[in-house]
């Protein structure tokens, strides 16, 4: 039996090496990609693995971002607590909203997730005292990372690089956890729900309860991604929870491929890099994105990862 090349380890090493390139821009991009990769992978737990299409996933991203932002900026809570708090609060919100959402199916489910997300957005937009309202909360402090300056190799790096490395570790840990969940019996039960919910019921699966569990997990990890993003973005704003953000992450998930665990992460990478490239030529990025999406839907519904794995399978059969 051939051993798989250790892709994950290689990627992790590559990610950790980015600051060595010395470019603030590359580190910035990489950080962006990592956070969105986590966000998209969390959504895929719902969409790709359980078959639940949520149009309001950005709500949990937003809640996570605001939680960490408020805790760190207004209450001086250290990152070590503020970061997990993002996941906990987002998960709690997902529990509350999800309870109602999983009682519905398909389009009604999607609509309710959208409605809840817009409620979250509206609260963030209007609750000036707590969330800063329309202006949001700029200037979220970095966590205190001076200790990193004392580590070998890392002394000369900037704070943004230090934070990037922290992101790498945290995102890798979260993705690792999600990977484990997806490959577990619980994950298999989710897949049965996606494949045939009626049948799943009749092998003893309490479909609603599992869907709610998936919803909460997905929300919690999205919240963690949001917590990182607020700091990375140096500010937290209401549009983090707006429904168009939900569709952005959905597109990433589709682009990369919902059927493969790392698909959404790939989608995040491709989309962000593409965005960077295109935006330097034209301001009409949505037009380009829309066209890409249409082509994708007609030609590569399995996303890039899906197309890649089909190609690999065909190659293997031919050789």
């Amino acid at each position: 039996m051939t051993r798989r090349p250790p892709w994950e380890a290689l990627l992790l090493a590559a990610a950790l090496a980015v600051p060595a390139l010395g470019s603030r821009f590359y580190t910035f991009l990489a950080n962006d990609v990592l956070i969105w990769a986590l966000f998209a992978t969390s959504l895929n737990l719902l969409v790709g693995y359980t078959g639940l299409v949520s149009f309001g996933h950005a709500a949990y991203f937003g809640i996570g971002a605001y939680t960490t932002g408020i805790l760190m900026k207004k209450l001086g809570v250290p990152f070590l607590l503020a970061f997990p708090a993002a996941g906990v609060l987002a998960g709690a919100a997902a529990l509350l909203f999800g309870f109602f959402c999983v009682r519905l199916t398909r389009i009604y489910f999607a609509m309710l997730t959208l409605a809840f997300a817009q409620i979250v957005w509206a609260i963030c937009f209007k609750w000036n005292e707590v969330t800063g309202g329309e202006q949001g909360m700029p200037e979220i402090p970095y966590p205190s990372l001076d200790w990193m300056g004392r580590l070998p190799l890392l002394g000369e790096l900037r704070t943004s690089d230090h934070f990037y490395l922290v992101s790498v570790v945290l995102v890798a840990a979260c993705l690792g956890l999600l990977r484990r969940v997806v490959g577990s019996p619980f994950g298999r039960m989710l897949t049965t729900i996606r494949e045939n919910a009626e049948r799943a019921e009749f092998i003893g699966v309490n479909v609603r309860r599992y869907e709610l569990a998936a919803f909460v997990l997905a929300g919690a990890f999205a919240g963690l991604a949001g917590g990182l993003f607020g700091i990375f973005n140096r500010g937290v704003f209401p549009d983090f929870a707006y429904w168009t953000k939900s569709s952005e992450v959905l597109i990433m998930t589709l682009l990369g491929g919902m059927g493969v665990f790392y698909g959404p992460a790939l989608g995040a990478l491709v989309l962000i890099l593409l965005n960077q490239q295109i935006v330097s030529y034209t301001e009409y990025w949505p037009f380009v994105l829309g066209t890409i999406l249409i082509v994708l839907l007609f030609v590569f519904p399995g996303g890039l990862a899906g197309a890649a794995s089909t190609a690999v399978r065909r190659l293997r059969r031919a050789t």
């Binding site: 109602f100 519905l104 209007k126 597109i251 999406l293």
Partner: protein, 295 residues
């Protein structure tokens, strides 16, 4: 206690907003009822209707009757666009998963709204109200109702009735209702369901475009109006019941009043109220006022 004529005026303004929304939401509801798809791009068709009306008005001027020509022309143009999109693109996704269909409509939003930006730029456009109705107003119960608003308020039920009669009494209407219930059987009976679907899309787009064209004297035509309106249309359709025609009408009425008085009494929470209402309906009675109860 605010005085009654004020309340009446608010109510009327809510009614106007409702009839606009009905015009747009009815197209959305039609597409959902028959094609079983929630068309995100419907708001963008509405926006294109507004922009096209502006453009046509630029070309043919503002003389008597010109506004109506521009409005109908815009609606027709949008309808044709809708037909082309359905016939050459959307049709091929009918067998695919719902998610793909939804994302396709969203992709349309991206492409079409940016196209509008390319053509018309980002500055606000405005269209003047038709001279026949401009500047005149009705005074009723102490409230001043501009003639144009009155026109819109009367147009809503007129279209609703026409629509309803068409659905109930004509052959085409019966086909549409049948297609909504059972596409395959209808096809097996020899009806060209593909063409029917295209016409439904065309009709819905016409309504959306018309809504945009008619609202242009009252609201600024600007980018972003599509994403704003589509969410409002969703709320209306959910309240009324997805796929129910009269449901959409009453949903729009309710929404209009809630919005109108909500802004008045709870200005801070009006945007919140709208979504809370949508969520409440979905939690308590997902099929809305007049939709078909879920299994």
């Amino acid at each position: 206690m605010p005085d009654p004529s004020f309340i009446f005026a608010q109510s009327v303004s809510g009614l106007t907003a409702a009839m606009f929304l009905f015009l747009i939401a009815s197209g959305l509801s039609l597409i959902f009822g028959v094609l079983r798809v929630l068309n995100f791009a419907h708001g963008t068709f509405y926006m294109l209707g507004a922009y096209t009306a502006f453009q046509l008005a630029q070309w043919i001027g503002n003389g008597t009757g010109r506004f109506w020509l521009a409005a109908l022309g815009a609606a027709a143009a949008v309808a044709i666009l809708g037909g082309l999109v359905e016939r050459f693109l959307f049709r091929h996704l009918y067998g695919a998963e719902e998610l793909y269909q939804l994302l396709f409509t969203y992709a349309l939003v991206l492409v079409l709204s940016d196209a509008a930006k390319m053509i018309w730029g980002t500055q606000q456009k405005s269209v003047s109200a038709p001279p026949e109705l401009a500047g005149k107003a009705l005074s009723l119960f102490g409230a001043i109702i501009p003639y144009y608003n009155l026109f819109i308020i009367l147009l809503g039920p007129t279209i609703a009735l026409t629509f309803w009669l068409t659905l109930q009494r004509t052959r085409v209407g019966r086909f549409i209702r049948a297609a909504a219930l059972d596409r395959e059987t209808l096809g097996a009976l020899g009806v060209n369901v593909d063409a029917l679907y295209t016409w439904v899309f065309v009709l819905a787009s016409f309504l959306g475009g018309l809504g945009g064209a008619l609202i242009s004297p009252m609201r600024a035509t600007t980018p972003g109006m599509d994403t704003e309106i589509i969410v409002e249309a969703f709320v209306v359709v959910v309240i009324g019941g997805l796929g129910s025609f009269w449901g959409t009408f009453f949903g729009a009425l309710i929404y209009g009043q809630v919005l109108s008085f909500g802004i008045l009494f709870f200005p801070r929470f009006s945007i919140f109220a709208v979504f809370a209402l949508m969520a409440a309906v979905l939690m308590v009675r997902p099929w809305g006022l007049l939709g078909r109860p879920l299994k």
